[in-house]
């Protein structure tokens, strides 16, 4: 099953006329030299054409609403409907970002309370909600660390320590902030190699970027010692919140010694992922970095029913690293996170970590008992864990890709594969707290069944997927013969 392009549904002269002004007034005051000569190459379609086309396209997707989606480090949990419905109330949707604050007290109250709740649950001193995704939250964190050192006249600190298991965004961010990346190896248990860390820190160290639990699915056991070593060398600690779901309400980055944290609200606070975004990378700061927070932040004057809210700007936070978005970040995403946080409450937040961890350890135990190899068999799982298919690859010539593609045929989205790079034929599996025991059991059954296929009929396995709209796609050809737009649509505007 495939669907034509919307351009191929187009018929000259067909219009969905209800949606726009029926006519174009004369605009002779615009000089001809500045005017467009040929019409834009957009489809000409009726509303029904458009509704059917995009409904059909949606049906070609896997999603949380339709499938178990155990994608490691991505936290694909249920997206409660109230979050979208309530963030989409007309009073919120229709408000201009530069409308007076007096006409935004409702949304600002929500954002202020969200700042407060996130501050508490992470153990930090304050939160700025403006970063628009995890990577921008990372940028914010490292930029604040740089600004902190600069403000102290300690400008030679230009090295950011990054464990080798880190997300690619960490080293990419460090470079965007003008820093050099120093990679720190991992020991056999999946923890940071402490001896290597001691050797790496120096008067050049600006800070360390850590994900905890790490992308290896284990809690960093020496975190307090790491904090001591890095702080002792004059560096600061950055917490990558990609895996915050594992510890929400159970353990707090602020208590571990972190100076700054970003939170992926589209993961931990379920706002959702939207097929690639939007996200939100809210940052929490400790006392060292409080003066450097990005703006705007929501401030409150007065208490209780008398409280009023206003935007804090450069005037309130003079050392701020400044504005990182045109207005207030992904404000609508923040409202969704607020609703989610209120529906959970304090106990519900703690339960997120508890049941995410229960599901993960249960699934890990069941897969181990079914004969799969764990990357760190001696460790507890956090909210995720790693299965390595190295043995299957060696014995049966079946790769992680083959198993992942076959899982799609069984109606399960594949786990994260080939990440972290340290573990060969890696499956990073994150079930999340919102999945039931039956779903986890069914996933184990599918994995067992696929292993059986690998032993008896590896050739078929390598053909997978066979039940999806398309079979394996030629990604090499896609990169070599770039086809990034439908040509006939743009050629003559038809």
């Amino acid at each position: 099953m495939t669907e034509k392009l919307i351009f191929e549904h187009s018929r000259p002269g067909r219009r969905a006329l209800a949606q726009a002004p029926a006519e174009a007034p004369a605009i002779d005051d615009i000089p001809a030299a500045l005017r467009r000569e040929s019409p834009v190459g957009l489809p000409e379609a009726s509303e029904m054409d458009v509704v059917r086309h995009y409904t059909r396209l949606s049906q070609l997707n896997f999603s949380i609403d339709t499938h178990f989606y155990p994608l490691g480090s991505c936290t694909m949990k249920h997206n409660p409907r109230a979050c979208n419905t309530l963030a989409s109330l007309p009073g919120f949707l229709n408000r201009h970002p530069l409308a007076p604050a007096s006409h935004g007290q409702g949304m600002m109250a929500c954002l202020y309370e969200l700042q407060e709740m996130l501050t508490t649950v992470t153990g930090m001193e304050a939160v700025s909600l403006t970063p628009m995704a995890g990577a921008q939250g990372e940028f914010t964190g490292v930029a604040m660390i740089k600004a902190y050192h600069d403000a102290r006249g300690d400008s030679a600190r230009d090295e950011i320590l990054v464990p080798d298991a880190a997300h690619g965004t960490n080293p990419a961010t460090a470079v965007m902030c003008g820093c050099k990346v120093v990679e720190i190896p991992t020991d056999a248990d999946g923890d940071v190699d402490i001896a290597a860390l001691r050797d790496a820190v120096s008067e050049r160290t600006a800070g360390i970027m850590l994900t905890n639990p790490s992308t290896l699915g284990v809690f960093e056991q020496d975190i307090l010692e790491i904090a001591e070593i890095v702080h002792g060398a004059g560096g600061l600690l950055y917490y990558d919140g990609a895996n915050l779901n594992a510890i929400l309400g159970k353990v707090r980055p602020g208590d571990m010694g972190f100076d700054v944290i970003h939170m992926n609200l589209h993961k931990t606070f379920s706002t959702p992922h939207g097929g690639g975004g939007p996200g939100s990378g809210a940052v929490g700061v400790g006392k060292r970095l409080r003066d450097f927070m990005p703006i705007p932040v929501v401030g409150r004057d007065g208490e209780g029913d008398e409280a009023t809210y206003r935007w804090l700007t450069e005037k309130d936070i003079p050392n701020t690293i400044g504005r990182l978005s045109a207005f207030m970040g992904n404000a609508g995403v923040l409202l969704r996170a607020y609703v989610y946080a209120r529906l959970l409450g304090r106990d519900g937040m703690t339960r997120v970590a508890e049941f995410a961890t229960l599901n993960s350890n249960y699934l890990m135990t069941r897969l181990r008992e079914a004969g799969f190899d764990l990357a760190f068999p001696e460790r507890r799982a956090s909210h995720e864990f790693i299965v390595t298919l190295k043995r299957q690859k060696q014995q049966l010539d079946v790769s992680a890709t083959d198993v992942a593609k076959r899982l799609l045929d069984y109606g399960f989205h594949a786990p994260t594969i080939y990440f972290p790079l340290l573990v060969p034929e890696c499956f990073l599996i994150e079930p999340t707290e919102s999945e039931s025991k039956e779903t986890l059991d069914a996933f184990v059954d599918a994995m067992v069944s696929i292993w059986e296929e690998a032993r008896t009929d590896a050739a078929t396995l390598k053909e997978a997927p066979v039940k999806l709209p398309v079979r394996r796609l030629d990604e090499v050809a896609a990169a070599k013969n770039l086809d990034l737009k439908h040509e006939s649509a743009t050629a003559a505007g038809a």
Binding site: I30, L42, S63, P97, M176, F219, Q221, V251, G275
Partner: protein, 459 residues
């Protein structure tokens, strides 16, 4: 338990399988000193009914007001079908399409979006979105520094007629990479880039010139001359556009005598994103094919499966952080995918004619508003150049106070520019989109007349 399906039986049986007595035992690798957490200041959970009432009250407080503010975010009618379709769970709750066979819906939408956006801008390539218009400009600057290999200066010419917040964001994001921004003033009569100020950089090593169209004042720049100036001086031309304006304005791919602008960015919000206090919106980035490997962000390509069926995949991934790590073109990972879905559906419904009618109606409505407002004694236009759907007006009274008084009449009269520009005291940037009726324009004019009279009396 909210959003957790486990029964007591499930929990018992799962713990037995794992071989522990309690869920807390699963956290036993964590130092006990870290495990005593108090969250007392976070409220107890509220029911969906209670949160619905709370949010309803808060949304009602923020509702209302007749909005004539533009300045980078514009009120447009969004067809009902756009968000009906966009919030289908299969789009809304999907992840980044890393498993293409299970993500053809999202991938094809992005491919259609890239096609529409290249059509609109006249450029060769569009990416799958950045965060917003301001951060897209920052990424375009970083991209230009990589792409312009002849330039060694990392010097960017940034007109002050670019949105003040965009300039701030570009500076804040690029500041740590040794990039310098040289500001170019504006002509006080026309509101356009001051060409004499620009000419001082002729013959110097310039990496890129930023060209806003329309500029922050709503004024249309002489984009052909500016593009030629940049390229004649070895600089790349970075266009900053309102995508809706391109339904009627010359597309950046045709600017100048050469092959057009090198990179084009813009705020995608006018294409189907609600105002929503500032986001989520999406950043547009398009470029010429020769720069594609320096482009940040995701991009979708068309290819075939093993049976020869057409399909879509993320491509050119070796530019991106998850492959190239510290050598990536950007750190961006999550983008604004759902907004791109909305924009694609929005453009499909409006088509070229609908977009053109919308853009032309915006121009006509702003013209009509300006005619009504300048009929009031002492209200005058500040610039005489042709404009898109925004204009700077000077008031005969204190602009901040006038805007506050208008807000009490339920009219958001525009943005005061004094905070952003020396010499623009008591000026207001006003905008009337296609959503405004004749009666709305009259309401604004009547309210402003009253406010000015009241303030003149008081003075």
């Amino acid at each position: 338990m909210p959003f957790i399906p486990h029964t007591e039986d499930d929990i018992r049986s799962m713990l037995a399988t794992i071989g522990v007595d309690a869920i807390d035992d699963l956290f036993d690798e964590i130092d006990p000193s870290l495990r005593d957490v108090r969250l007392d200041s976070i409220p107890e959970r509220a029911s969906e009914q209670a949160v619905t009432r709370l949010m309803g009250e808060r949304a009602a407080r923020d509702a209302g007001g007749l909005c004539f503010i533009g300045a980078g975010a514009y009120e447009h009618h969004i067809p009902a079908a756009v968000w009906e379709l966009t919030t289908r769970g299969e789009f809304y709750s999907a992840y980044t399409p890393y498993q293409p066979e299970a993500s053809q819906g999202t991938l094809q939408v992005v491919y259609e979006y890239q096609t529409m956006m290249t059509g609109l801008t006249g450029m060769d390539v569009a990416n799958a979105s950045l965060y917003d218009g301001a951060s897209a400009l920052a990424e375009a600057v970083l991209m230009a520094v990589r792409a312009n290999r002849r330039s060694k200066s990392a010097r960017i010419l940034m007109p002050v007629s670019v949105h003040p917040f965009y300039r701030q964001v570009a500076h804040n994001i690029c500041a740590n990479q040794g990039i310098t921004f040289e500001t170019i003033g504006y002509d006080h009569a026309t509101g356009r880039i001051d060409e004499a100020a620009l000419e001082r950089w002729a013959g110097e090593d310039v990496t890129a010139l930023v060209i806003p169209q329309p500029n922050f004042f709503g004024v249309l720049e002489d984009v052909d001359r500016l593009t030629d100036w940049a390229q004649d001086n070895g600089a790349l031309a970075i266009g900053v556009v309102n995508p809706l304006s391109l339904a009627v304005l010359n597309e950046p791919g045709r600017w100048g005598a050469g092959e057009g602008a090198d990179i084009v960015v813009g705020e995608g919000q006018p294409l189907g994103a609600p105002l929503a206090s500032g986001g989520p919106y999406f950043g547009i980035l398009c470029c010429r094919k020769k720069h594609v490997r320096q482009m940040p962000g995701r991009v979708v390509g068309r290819t075939q499966d093993v049976d020869g069926r057409t399909g879509y995949v993320l491509t050119l991934q070796p530019r991106e952080q998850h492959i190239r790590r510290s050598k990536a073109t950007s750190n961006i990972c999550t983008n604004q995918g759902l907004l791109v879905t909305a924009a694609t559906i929005h453009m499909s419904l409006l088509g070229a004619t609908g977009l053109e009618n919308t853009a032309a109606t915006c121009i006509a409505n702003t013209r009509a508003l300006v005619a009504r407002l300048t009929a009031i004694d002492g209200v005058e236009t500040v610039f005489d150049g042709p404009a898109f759907h925004e204009t700077v007006l000077r008031l005969p009274v204190d602009a901040e106070r006038a805007l506050a008084a208008l807000a009490e009449h339920g009219v958001f009269g525009g943005l005061s520019l004094a905070e952003f520009y020396d010499g623009l005291d008591n000026t207001v940037l006003v905008c009337a989109t296609e959503t405004k009726t004749e009666a709305d324009l009259d309401t604004y004019a009547d309210a402003l007349r009253d406010v000015i009279a009241a303030q003149a009396d008081a003075a």
